[in-house]
Symmetry: C2
Subunit: 121 residues, 2 copies
DNA sequence: TTATAAATGCAACTAAGTCGCAATTAAGAT
DNA sequence: ATCTTAATTGCGACTTAGTTGCATTTATAA
């Protein structure tokens, strides 16, 4: 996944901030919140959120609200469900796809909440 | 569902605030946030949240974070999944139960996000 | 190289929820 | 019926995630 290609396809300006954000999300194996990466990035949080928002409207990233009042973002790729641990707030991507249809509704995302292996002890 | 029975079973004091909260949630057909009901209740928000928190530890209510940074609460009854519309943020209780097991994880809740019938136009 | 629309940093703001503390109250004991 | 006391309440100040207005800077295309 080439950052410059992504940016050019959507006709966005390639700024240092955008490069930083996309590098982080492309390398990450799981969704990240602003809080997760604020130490690793050099831009202001307004810049972060404005870019994230643009990336979302361009479908480069998508997001969901977790159990900890934070929004988590990930690169839009193969759709998959997420497991959120109510105890430690960790998030796992579930690879086995869940095929779920609800009539008169378009399903985009599935979040499963519960207790993860670590927290079950 | 009798409010006095619920309160007595958990050995809590029956206060006016608790009565108000439980009445609202027992009558509601869907999960409610503080914002949904703040006009209808007479207590301070600290009191609301402290009681909600107690009701959650007593398993009288349970809650989840929706797509709009608000936490939604509902009476603990028959387990069911929720559909959250990403566009209008409405929440529906899904009655057909979804049987989902993930090895090494305890599943408590399922949230399905997408677009509801109204918003599909 | 320049023009300009878009992007940035900063500071001030919003909104959901939390916390400390003094005053009040439910419920059991007298 | 009243007293006692731990639990509950209201208030105000605080926290934290995210947003907004505005002056300055910068990527791109002419």
């Amino acid at each position: 996944m080439q950052i410059e290609t992504i940016i050019q396809e959507k006709k966005l300006k390639l700024t240092a901030a955008r490069k930083e954000i996309l590098e982080l999300f492309i390398d990450s194996q799981k969704p990240l919140s602003y809080d997760d990466i604020k130490e690793s990035i050099s831009m202001d949080k307004a810049t972060f959120y404005r870019n994230i928002s643009k990336f979302e409207t361009e479908s480069i990233l998508h997001s969901f609200e977790s159990n900890d009042k934070k929004r988590y973002y990930e690169i839009t790729g193969t759709p998959h469900a997420h497991f959120i641990c109510k105890e430690c707030n960790s998030i796992e991507c579930l690879e086995e796809s869940i095929n779920l249809k609800i009539k008169n509704h378009t399903v985009h995302d599935i979040l499963i909440k519960g207790i993860c292996q670590k927290c079950m002890g």
